[in-house]
Each structure stands twice: as C-alpha cells, then as structure tokens.
C-alpha cells in the first residue's frame, strides 16, 4: 500500500515509523512544509535559552533515520486533496496517489486582531524560523512584551525571563494558563512570576502596537510599555484550509471517528489538527498536546494498515509547565465534574497547591503546583479508572498521597 502522511510533527513522524513497522514493504511519504528536518516545537524554548542547538530540537537525531526506514521525506506543501481519485496536489505542481492518507498537519498561531501586529519586531513563537528571529532580539536588558499567558505563552515566558530581558506579560483572562489552572493556582503562578520580576498584567488587553523606539504597546488600562520585541501567543487553530472542497468534514478541527478516520474513507487525521476523542468526556475535541499527538500517530498507523480492529478509548488531556521554577501540572477533568467530590490544599506562602477531582471513588482529574514527584500516577489512575475504596477518604485527608493510593489499590502489599 502507498501511505502519505501530511505533516512532519510528532504525530506524523510517529505515524510513519509505525506504518513501517506494520507495513514493511509499503510506500511511505512524509510531507512537511518547513525548511528543517522534522523537529519538536516543544523544544524551542530550550533552543532560545541556548540549552540545545537547532539539532537538539530534531525529533530524531540521526539524519539517516528516515532513509534507513525507507521513508521518503518530502519538503512541499499540500494545496488540495482529490479524495475521489485518492490524490494529493502539491504546491510544486505535481500530484501523488495514496491508498491511505494521514493528515497530521498540526496547527498555526492565531494572529490577534490588534493594530500593529504586522509591524517588524512582532513575532509568533511557533516555528524554528520564528525562534531564529526572536533569539536575535533577546538581548539582556531589552524590553519584551509577551501577549498571551496560555500554555504556549508560558513556556516561552520561562525562556525569555531566563535570558535577562525586561519582560511584560499580558493576558486577557484573570489568571495565568486559564485553560490549565483554576483561579487559585493560576493566580499563584502570576504571583510567583511577579515575585521573580516579570511584569504580569492579567485581565488586560492590548489595544495597539505602534512603531516607536522601536515599538510601543498600548494596553486597555491606559498603560503603555516600550518594547524591542513583541511576541504573540494567543492560541492556535488547526491547519485545515487546504481541505476545502475535499469533502473531509471540518468543525473546529478535522472530524474523526473512534478509529481516527475522517468523514472520507481511507483518510485519517491525527494530532493538533484532529478533533479526537477525549478520554474523560467521551466527546471529541482538539487537545493539541504532545502525548496525544504521539498516541494518535500510533493508533492511525495501525488502523491504516490493519483496518479498524480496535477503537480509541480517548486520550487523557494533560499538561506540565515550568514557569521560572514553579512546576504545574493538570490532568483530565481538573475543573471537576457534575456530582463529583474534590479535595484542595492551598499553601500560598510556599507556592504549593494540589487539587483532586473524584467521581464516585475514582480520580477523574487533578492539578498541582510545586508537586513533581510521581505526578504521572495521576494520569495512570485516571486512565485505568482505579477504584480507590477507602483510599478516597485518605486522599481527602492528604491529597499528596496519590502514589500510596495507587500502590494500595493495585499491588499486593503483603
């Protein structure tokens, strides 16, 4: 069979490797439109602080990796898909036929509707090319305004602050990482960053960016900040424009079934562009996280080669973030569920926070600040629906004992 994978991010790269495993003799083409070997956007902040070089961001370190697996890596852009004839059209003018197609085209940053966002010195921080431009302006003492304190904004924040720039972060919501942390913990992250010398403005919007020494950013509270560099990180949207006319259903992401197949047979979708199944809700939504991209890549490769033997139970939404040394994580239904119970412990002085959400005697969600040891077990207990029995009460007394709760309920303790 001939497989084509559109998109050379984590979902696409894992998919082609797995396709080779499942189909030793099939044709496999991986198409990416960026002028780099397949790389990880997650690694960009570490490139910005020069902890790694560009090669350190590459998803696979051996340049001969894809060739050795008989995978053709094509640098081009897919302009359209003719699903009736099972062909993709490339910007270069050629076309390619497929038996199975995987769309792992990822997402792109949303440009906020602010006047002046197209000025020189205003960047997204999404691609390696963006990072190359930004790194030149990250001189110590330079003034940088970061627009957006969501997950992506915050991982860049860490790199910017570490480089010694004067940093202002502006977020329209009332707290940092509002889609990962509640009012209390998101507020604590704000306090932590403010204490570290970052100027954090929440519940604030940018009215305009103007060209002046070199940039001037005006906020809706009347304040203004002079900036050498403005970075916008106001969310991303799935890359689906090239699917117009293909017959592939798109609705806030590519619509897929539990086998990650799109509305068109033999066409699959994975990763940040796919509206995959959420383990916690059973509904379909774009999660846009690394572990989900990888799981999608593995699942689609299997389904593309072997057919639809096994449905996807869904991925647990989760995130981990390091804001200037304060580490936060969130899992599943961290905001709670109707009719559920919860426990929360807050230590503002020591920047410690933990919140567990229960449904019956199972953990269905959690979020934490300053807790790094064994946090993965929260994912494990959510995903295996571990019944806690009397350990639910013990966790309500001391929610930090998650590892003990897991062991007590899954191991023979003698």
């Amino acid at each position: 069979m001939d497989h084509i994978v559109i998109g050379a991010g984590p979902a696409g790269v894992v998919a082609v490797e797995q396709l080779r495993k499942h189909d030793p003799n099939g044709g496999i083409v991986l198409i990416g439109d960026e002028p780099e070997p397949p790389y990880s956007r997650m690694a960009i902040p570490y490139y910005l602080v020069k902890r790694i070089d560009e090669a350190g961001t590459h998803l696979r370190k051996d340049p001969g990796h894809y060739g050795a697996l008989g995978i053709e890596v094509l640098r081009d852009r897919v302009s359209s898909i003719d699903t009736a004839n099972q062909e993709i059209m490339l910007d270069a003018g050629s076309s390619r036929r497929y038996d199975r197609l995987l769309i792992a085209a990822g997402a792109s940053p949303i440009t906020p509707p602010i006047s002046g966002v197209d000025l020189p010195g205003v960047y997204n921080c999404w691609t390696l090319e963006d990072a190359r431009s930004i790194i030149k302006l990250m001189e110590p003492g330079n003034s940088v305004v970061l627009v957006g304190a969501g997950f992506i904004g915050c991982i860049i924040l860490e790199a910017l602050a570490a480089s010694g720039v004067k940093l202002t972060v502006v977020e329209t919501e009332n707290r940092m990482v509002p889609r990962m942390m509640n009012d209390v913990s998101g507020g604590m992250i704000k306090d932590w960053c403010s204490n570290k010398g970052v100027n954090v403005l929440t519940s604030t919007r940018v009215n305009a960016i103007e060209a002046a020494h070199p940039l001037l950013v005006r906020f809706d509270n009347g304040e203004e900040v002079a900036a050498d560099l403005v970075i916008t990180a106001t969310g991303v949207a799935p890359n689906t424009a090239f699917l117009e006319g293909s017959g592939i259903d798109v609705d806030a992401g590519i619509v897929v079934n539990e086998f990650l197949e799109t509305s068109v047979p033999n066409v699959y979708a994975a990763g940040d562009c796919a509206r995959g199944k959420d383990f916690s809700t059973g509904g379909y939504s774009v999660q846009a996280i690394q572990p989900t991209a990888v799981e999608h890549g593995m699942l689609t490769a299997r389904n593309m080669v072997h057919g639809h033997s096994q449905g996807n139970r869904g991925q647990v939404n989760m995130n981990v973030l390091d804001t200037l040394g304060l580490i936060s994580s969130s899992f599943g239904m961290w905001m709670g569920v109707d009719g559920g119970d919860s426990v929360e412990r807050i230590d503002r002085d020591r920047f410690r926070y933990v919140n567990l959400q229960f449904e019956d005697d199972r953990i269905v969600g959690a979020s934490a600040l300053g807790m790094t040891d064994h946090v993965g077990v929260l994912r494990g207990m959510i995903q295996s629906k571990t019944r806690l029995g009397d350990w639910k009460e013990k966790l309500q007394d001391d929610p930090t004992r998650v590892m003990e709760a897991y062991l007590a309920n899954t191991q023979v303790l003698g």
């Binding site: 570490y46 790094t372 064994h374 946090v375 062991l407 899954t410 023979v412 303790l413 003698g414």
Partner: protein, 172 residues
C-alpha cells in the same frame, strides 16, 4: 535472558537503604530525594512498599519524549534517559502512568531507574531480600494475576496502562 527487579513489599522494613544506595550510585550523594527507587510507607498498617520503574513494554515515557532522549538499553531492556539529549520539558513525567520518572531540579533533567546498567545497587543494598534482581521469566504469572484481580473491568485495550508482567510481587 533478561532480568528484572522483583519487589516483595512484605519483606520490606522501610529501612531506605535502597534509596541511599540508588542516590549514591547515581548522584554520588546519600539523599533519598534523588533516589530512582522509592519506599512508600503505610504507617497505619505498618507496611512498606518499594517501587520503581518496571521498564514496561509500552514505554510511555519514551514515546512521549519530544526529543528522543529516552532509549532502550539493548543489554538490559531498561529505558534509559540520555542526559545529553533531555531538555527537561517534563512531558514524560506526566505521561508515565506509574509515576516512576521524575524531574530532578538540580540537573534540570528527568531521572528514572536504569537498572544501574545491569547491576542494580538497590537490590545489593536491600538487607531483607525485598528487592532482588532475578530472571525475568521466573516471576511472571503471580504478578499478572495480582494485577488482573485489581482491575476487574480492564478490558483488552492497548492504551490502558499495564505494568510489565515480569516485575512480580511474590509471597514468600
């Protein structure tokens, strides 16, 4: 033949010599906070449970890593973190459903059990035989049974976390 750590909580007295040996072997310090193996205490029942990475076949940590910093050790089967490649993003720490790969703030990288390259110091340090390094095949069935009994509704689905069969909890 591959070997695996066999953990028998009923033999554990909570002396923490395994944690001391692990941190000293790997970081040159006697510091349980740096240990890759941890002893969990159940004081209300007077019990202890040593626990560490089972080197599971799914290798959730390895698959989740965005920079290919976790690799399989061909000799021991362990999943090893390459310090020179790890960027410290911590995605593996939330992806591992057993909570056995952790962030080490003093190095800015993650740490996990690598079986000390085939000579695990925790097993050598354990004075009661609660941690032993044994042939992988000799231990499988009891462990699988114990796991299955505790997961009544778990059906066959490859995304459900399953510990590696070969790490067993044997009754003496």
């Amino acid at each position: 033949m591959l070997r695996a750590l066999s953990l028998e909580p009923e033999r554990c007295t909570g002396c923490l010599q395994c944690e001391m040996a692990c941190s000293f072997e790997n970081d040159g310090v006697f510091n349980p906070a740096k240990s890759r193996i941890k002893v969990f205490a159940f004081h209300e029942e007077g019990r202890f449970a040593p626990y560490t990475c089972t080197q599971c076949d799914e290798a959730w940590c390895m698959k989740a890593c965005p920079v290919d910093a976790i690799v399989i050790n061909a000799e021991t089967g362990s999943k090893d973190v390459l310090d020179s490649v790890c960027v410290g993003c911590k995605v593996c720490t939330i992806a591992c459903p057993f909570g056995t790969i952790n962030y080490n703030s003093s190095t800015g990288k993650v740490i996990k059990c690598d079986l000390c390259g085939g000579d695990p110091h925790c097993a050598k340090a354990c004075p009661t035989g609660a941690i032993t390094y044994v042939d992988a095949d000799s231990t499988g069935m009891e462990r699988m049974r114990a796991w299955a009994q505790n997961r009544p509704e778990a059906g066959p689905n490859y995304i459900t976390p399953v510990e590696k069969d070969i790490q067993t909890y044997q009754r003496p």
